[in-house]
């Protein structure tokens, strides 16, 4: 007879754990976050559906910030380095992660990729996540902010259908705004849907092609960067291993 719980089975023990299932990933994410904070790099986790315009947005962002800020990227895709190649052509040093079949990036993948991009020299590190409106939202990467690109062509109701992703967003960029005259989508309807899943609603309608909204997006980024506290002394005390 089990003494502790009276369950009748002499050999069974129940152990209370109360631990996040992703605690290993959480630890790796914390580690990344400490790196970024110590080096004064704003790490942006950019998520969104395949084809939402994440890469185009980063290309346009790089053009706007050229000569003023140093940008780098980590680009995740199931196959090919196409996004990474586009970003490098836009003069953004980029490490590609091809995940094979994994539908998201995790903190350890990002940490491993840091060896392939001179991230300490950067003002911004953009992590272009795998195109997917579900899984990437579950994994903390160590980013300072989550930005979700939602293209106008995806429809007004996407925030309601994918509440997990939009709840995690610090900012939603409503991309491809130049297509507005050709579609039956209303920006106000997107805003209403977002307000039901994202308490601190933050939406910037934007077009990488026409440039509308770009100034507001850059200002948002710069304000986040200004909020970073640089603490170079702290990093040496964390651990000794080297990164690029």
């Amino acid at each position: 007879m089990c003494d502790s719980c009276g369950c009748g089975d002499p050999h069974k023990v129940s152990l209370d754990v109360q631990e996040r299932i992703l605690s290993v990933n959480d630890r790796a994410a914390r580690h990344n976050r400490e790196h970024f904070a110590a080096a004064g790099v704003l790490a942006v986790n950019l998520m969104g559906s395949p084809g939402a315009g994440k890469t185009a947005l980063l290309e346009a962002t790089a053009a706007r910030l050229a000569g003023r800020r140093r940008l780098g990227a980590i680009a995740g895709d199931l196959e090919t380095e196409r996004d990474a190649e586009r970003l490098r052509a836009a003069l953004v040093p980029t490490a590609a992660i091809t995940t094979g079949s994994a539908c998201h990036l995790d903190a350890e993948m990002v940490h491993a990729a840091l060896d392939r991009v001179a991230w300490r020299e950067l003002d911004y590190l953009f992590v272009e996540n795998v195109g997917n409106l579900v899984c990437p939202a579950v994994y903390d990467l160590g980013q300072a902010v989550n930005v979700v690109a939602l293209s106008l062509t995806e429809g007004e109701d996407k925030p309601l259908k994918y509440p997990v992703m939009f709840r995690k967003a610090d900012l939603v960029l409503l991309t491809k705004l130049d297509l507005l005259p050709h579609l039956d989508v209303r920006v106000e309807a997107v805003k209403d849907a977002l307000a039901r899943v994202m308490p601190d609603l933050a939406l910037v309608p934007i077009s990488a092609r026409s440039g509308v909204g770009m100034a507001e997006w850059i200002a948002w980024l710069e304000a986040r960067r200004a909020g970073l506290e640089r603490s170079p002394a702290a990093h040496g005390q964390l651990h000794a291993h080297p990164h690029a």
Partner: protein, 112 residues
């Protein structure tokens, strides 16, 4: 389909605990999954059935779900899911009180 990666994290964690305690088998895991955790309980259950191995070969997975609850950070008034997530009284953005849990709660093992 990140449910498989969650299952592999669960299996690794439970196996490590079982080895530390010299258990001969893990018989049951209890997890708590919030409605806004981004995890489909049914997919998690089928991924677990497909991927359990080693000491967890015959383990069962008990999934407890938790509804999303939003409330005002000032007056604690509940904001119903589906509504605009602002307190109708105070105007403040609502805070998630529960619903994003992704917790391993309990491991049941057989010890000699």
């Amino acid at each position: 389909m990140h449910e498989y990666s969650l299952v592999s994290a669960l299996v690794r964690r439970a196996e490590a605990e079982a080895r530390t305690r010299r258990a001969t088998a893990v018989t049951r895991l209890r997890v708590r999954i919030g409605a806004l955790a981004g995890v489909e309980p049914e997919l998690l259950a089928s991924a677990f059935t497909l991927c359990r191995e080693g000491l967890l070969r015959d383990a069962s997975l008990e999934i407890e779900t938790a509804a999303a609850v939003w409330a005002c950070p000032r007056c604690d008034a509940t904001v119903p899911a589906g509504a605009v997530l602002r307190c109708p009284g105070c105007g403040l953005p609502a805070r998630l009180v529960s619903g994003d849990e992704l917790m391993l709660e309990q491991i049941e093992m057989e010890v000699p």
